[in-house]
Subunit: 197 residues, 4 copies
């Protein structure tokens, strides 16, 4: 059976939930899926991701994070070699203008078929788009770490990063867009299916 | 049993669905509810609303419409005596700067407890806010028509207008916010409960 | 000579400037113009406006306020009989759901030719639109006070309310739109010219 | 004297003006500045840029483009090796998912001190931010071309890409943010000063 590793993050920035893990955990019992919760920290999250890849030896890895302010599922096309945090992570660390891999390239492109994934999410009736920046916080750190692993050690692994919007309960005053967590989960299912096709 | 009249609109502006009717129709079997579909036309919709009130003699009327670009459930606080259409309605009529009721007041306030309704929607984990303008298209036309009916003929009727965001499938490219139709329906349930409390 | 009364507000909400007064004061030496600075308080501002009308006996009154988050000059079409403040005014007063004039109507329409004013601003190369809500803070309070004065005591006076965006220096991080104060002033000149035409 | 090459683009996408060239041309007579207009085409623009660098042998190059929908001056931190056009360029060419330099790296970081530049623009009273994506259209093509030139042939040259918002006259209906062209020009002056400091 195809082995699929999905990761989501714990809440950060004072939030009670993180829709990335809320959605990923809904896929935990899907065939072939291992769902792993990552700390929202620069130091631990990468180690947890690498350990999970080692442990599960997956064919596909999709790491998922929260992108507050976005409207749909965003397929990240680029991961940059840069940590530049606007707020401290959950361990209190706030790197500014630091490379993730001092000897690594400035960026990697995702090895997911991002446009096919976008089309699949839209075909499921949900908003989606390709994004050219995953920011410079823990999400991008994980996206770059995964791409660097693929480039340097696991050339047959396919993987990438996906951002999901806020969950509705995170924006009670209606000043930011959101997506139902069940919709985010269905969007991720479409991403996985397209990535495996 | 308390009688509740809910209305939603047919699609307009080239859309395939209208989330107002999609959500209202999910409440059609709730206790006491009559759900009525309105044309998206200045002329017919008001007649259909008035006929439905006549027919069902409700205790509460909540008319619902689509507000593209909004993020949450919006409780409309004001209805103005003005038709000013940016696009033609579904019958091809496009009134510009016309009063709805030539002898009516400039505006009515909603007779719904709008802030209690907002609080109830938020307590259900969904975004909501009070809005001070329902626009000047068919939605406001219906909001004003209902308020004028209450003011002039049915002083004990409680009623108002609520806007819901686009459904996710209306915004595939993710350039506008949306709300799952089941969430919109649950938000409307919270509005109804708060209005009856 | 035609007498024109223009008002702008002092800063509020922790800001250092209010673009409404910054722009209005650039018109202070225009022919026929009296420019008056209003407190950003529910109680004083209306008194200051009424005193200025009494003192200058104007043919035209344009009251101007700041609308954070907007992109262009907004011609307010409706003023509602409601004070509902999200934050305290500069005197520390925060009315909630209070009528402005207990015996007044729910709303007034502006006596400015709002669409002609919008067209004039756009012809000057600047963004403009008609707005159907001036909110429920001090701006709307002044808009309603002016409209009520016109309706009850000065039927030949023409007047209304205009919102201007943030000035650029108020949004250094670029998270909200803004308009150069000289552009806002030129937009107001176009509004005045159209209102007098 | 320090030699500064500034470039702006001709209009595209049906617009009458391009604020990048409108602003850059206001700096054409500043000391040391050569201002060059680029075609908005994937093929010609890069050639024009490289020829201008050859001709003027600059110490600093700042290429400027229009970013519709943005609020402030955006200092682009990353240029990616990808042409992916949503609309045809002014020569009718619309590359999809093509590398700019087949043997080049996935991305380059700007050699401008982007945060110092942002601080300088803000100190001038104008909105500014660091951006992590210059898109995948002609702007990014030029940003990557410049960075590749610096990396491969002109290691002492400092240069990067800056986006400016729409000019006010491009958004008459006020549905998108804008910046006065004189403000954009002053923002670019602050960028140049910070880049040379």
């Amino acid at each position: 059976m195809t082995r699929i590793l999905l990761t989501g993050f714990e809440p950060f920035g004072g939030e009670d939930i993180n829709p990335s893990w809320a959605a990923v955990s809904l896929l935990a019992d899907d065939p072939g899926v291992t769902a792993v919760l990552l700390d929202c920290t620069f130091d631990s999250a990468a180690k947890q991701l690498l350990a999970a890849v080692e442990r599960t030896d997956p064919d596909l890895v999709v790491c998922v994070g929260q992108a507050g302010g976005t409207v749909g599922i965003e397929l990240e096309r680029v991961a940059v070699n840069l940590d530049d945090a606007r707020i401290p992570d959950n361990a209190g660390r706030q790197p500014v203008d630091e490379p993730i891999e001092p000897s690594g390239p400035a960026a990697y492109f995702s090895s997911l078929p991002v446009k096919e994934c976008v089309a699949a999410v839209r075909a499921a009736g949900l908003p989606a788009s390709v994004s050219n920046s995953a920011g410079t916080y823990v999400c991008n750190h994980i996206a770059y770490t995964l791409a660097h692993l693929i480039a340097t050690e696991r050339p047959t692994l396919r993987g990438g990063f996906v951002h999901v919007p806020y969950a509705p309960q995170q924006v009670p005053s209606g000043n930011q867009p959101s997506m139902a967590v069940t919709d985010a989960a269905n969007g991720l299912r479409a991403v996985v299916a397209a990535a495996l096709a």
